[in-house]
């Protein structure tokens, strides 16, 4: 199994001299499984450079799994060149959105409107299929299975676990560990606490034993209080999740767009130091555009 990072930045593409080492593209991860399935996790701006490499291996069969519909996870999709080339087969998987009442079709439909994009949806020449996935319902792709897990973000967000041939990777998409909306002493505090603890156990069980965990680590613990409820994790929450699930590798991603490469390395080192005694064999890295890992 090969995992390659094409976009590791959160919120908005952030090119420039201060982000050149880790990269400015928004979220996109390429996964090649042992039975040669191409799984693409999210279609942020990083999907554009990935698309260039796919032009060498036409026709392309790609399964894109979208964690959620915020711009930084979908904005590259209209630039995913294989969608315009006849003979390619693309499946876009995403959750049902309870507010609009629509599924993945809306992600393309909304972006490819006349005012925003020159090519109409009807002009995509590949075979494109929209698949509404449900939490916990496994999608089988040959010997590869993809399991969507409901996480916590201001819009419905699915994390995906990919398993093939005994190797596995889990990508959180955007996720903030659940917190209690009640204050201690409120009538509903204990009930809510029990609910979120159960949900946390469910999430840990779903990720348990994964080889590679790729987790939203947008903030430092110092920054977090001002960003509580925005739907993102911290370096520390990701490390704690990796320890709880027994992951072998943790890649911290969704880097803050204003964070320079130097600052990123500094806050990452501080987080590692805080957990130095409890990480065991866990290998923690910063996700970096262009890096790949083979397991």
């Amino acid at each position: 199994m090969k995992v390659k990072f094409w976009g590791v930045r959160g919120s908005i593409p952030s090119p420039g001299p201060s982000t050149v080492r880790y990269g400015g593209n928004t979220t996109c991860i390429e996964v090649r499984t042992d039975d040669n399935q191409l799984v693409i996790l999210d279609g942020g701006s990083g999907i554009f450079p990935l698309a260039q490499t796919l032009l060498r291996e036409l026709p392309v069969t790609a399964n894109i799994f979208n964690s959620h519909s915020h711009w930084d996870h979908i904005q590259g999709l209209p630039f995913f060149i294989p969608i315009f080339i006849p003979g390619n087969s693309i499946k876009l998987h995403a959750s049902f959105d309870p507010v609009s009442g629509e599924g993945p079709e809306r992600i393309m439909n909304v972006q490819m409107q006349y005012s925003y994009f020159p090519i109409r949806e009807a002009e995509m020449k590949s075979r494109i299929e929209y698949v509404t996935v449900m939490p916990n319902e496994i999608v089988e792709l040959g010997a590869t299975s993809v399991t969507p897990i409901l996480l916590n973000h201001p819009v419905v967000n699915l994390g995906y676990r990919i398993d093939c041939n005994g190797k596995s990777v889990f990508f959180t998409g955007d996720h903030e560990p659940h917190f209690n909306i009640y204050a201690p002493g409120d009538d509903s505090y204990a009930e809510y606490q029990a609910l979120i603890e159960e949900q946390r156990r469910t999430i840990v069980a779903a990720i348990k034993g994964v080889d590679i965990l790729i987790a939203d680590s947008s903030y430092t613990i110092e920054e977090y209080p001002a960003k509580k409820g925005w739907g993102h994790g911290t370096f520390d929450s990701s490390i704690e999740l990796a320890i709880a699930t027994g992951a072998k590798f943790l890649f911290c991603t969704h880097h803050e767009p204003t964070r320079s490469d130097d600052a990123l390395e500094k806050v990452f080192a501080e987080a590692l130091a805080r957990h130095a005694g409890s990480m065991g064999e866990l290998d923690v890295r910063l996700a970096r555009e262009g890096d790949e890992i083979v397991i």
Binding site: V99, N136, V156, S188, E191
Partner: protein, 291 residues
């Protein structure tokens, strides 16, 4: 039920999707959501005091689009699963459908209905806490109380003429409203309420509790017991008005389960004026909001 019951459920189910919520909650949702930092728990408090919003939220959460390991029975659970922002935007979309009119062609007072539902919900929760001995979740009792008469507000909105006749028959002949509904409509509000939530894949326990709230409740089932007793108490103390003034007798099994008859239970509940005041303040606001 007759063959037409499936058609009736389908028709009413589609109608409920467009049904507006209560004025006070619509107003509060619009106020709260103007501030992007509004307290999540305040949003929850508003939604869980509105049977229409609660019903619509749980309907989507329990739909086939999410295969949650267990059925969703509370607003808090909805927030844990979908996140507060999604629940907030769902509430806003419900609020965008306008407000439930205070008057309808059936002559059914929806404000008094709301008071009855809220009081029954709070009483059922309190009964469960005091007498339940851990046999049921007080939150389940609250939801059952809030939603038990939902069929009535559906009748008032979508079958007003028939419901008006049933209300009149119940008052003139001093018979329970559900008996009059069966005579006039061929189905009563407990059956229709249960059929709707069954169609929306609510948990069977809640469906049964709504279905049997005028019928053969199981004295083994604490939620059904608490709802039945709470419903009779709110009628006896005339907190709100669900259109049915007949207070049913507690069966000997219920008397033994709660250790006394309805007057004993009311005495042991202590001061319920707070429950009545709270329910009335929500509906009072509803009148102001709709004025």
């Amino acid at each position: 039920m007759t063959e037409t019951s499936a058609e009736l459920t389908k028709k009413l189910s589609a109608a409920v999707e467009k049904m507006p919520a209560f004025p006070k909650s619509v107003q509060r949702i619009l106020e709260l959501t103007r501030d992007s930092n509004c307290e999540p728990k305040e949003l929850v408090m508003v939604i869980e005091k509105d049977p229409v919003m609660t019903m619509k939220l749980l309907r989507i959460l329990n739909s086939a689009y999410y295969s949650f390991p267990q059925k969703i029975t509370s607003v808090n659970q909805s927030v844990v699963y979908l996140g507060i922002n999604t629940v907030k935007n769902m509430a806003l979309s419900f609020a965008a459908m306008g407000v439930l009119p205070a008057s309808n062609a059936a002559g059914f007072d929806v404000q008094r209905y709301l008071i009855h539902s809220l009081a029954t919900a709070s009483l059922a929760r309190t009964l469960c806490q005091k007498f339940g001995g851990g046999a049921a979740d007080p939150t389940d009792c609250y939801i059952a109380g809030l939603l038990h008469d939902f069929g009535k507000v559906v009748f008032a909105q979508f079958m007003p003429e028939e419901f008006r006749q049933a209300l009149a028959m119940s008052a003139e002949q001093s018979i329970p409203l559900h008996v009059a509904e069966q005579n006039v409509i061929g189905a009563d509000h407990s059956i229709v309420g249960a059929m709707l939530v069954e169609k929306w894949q609510f948990p069977k326990s809640l469906t049964d509790t709504i279905r049997f709230h005028h019928g053969d409740i199981s004295t083994e089932n604490m939620v059904q017991c608490c709802l039945f007793v709470a419903n009779q108490i709110s009628k006896k103390l005339t907190i709100g008005d669900g259109g049915n003034h007949v207070v049913a007798e507690l069966s000997p099994q219920l008397v033994s389960r709660f250790g006394g008859d309805i007057d004993d239970i009311i005495a042991r509940l202590g001061d319920v004026s707070k429950i009545a005041e709270e329910a009335e303040s929500v509906a009072q606001g509803s009148q102001e909001a709709s004025a």
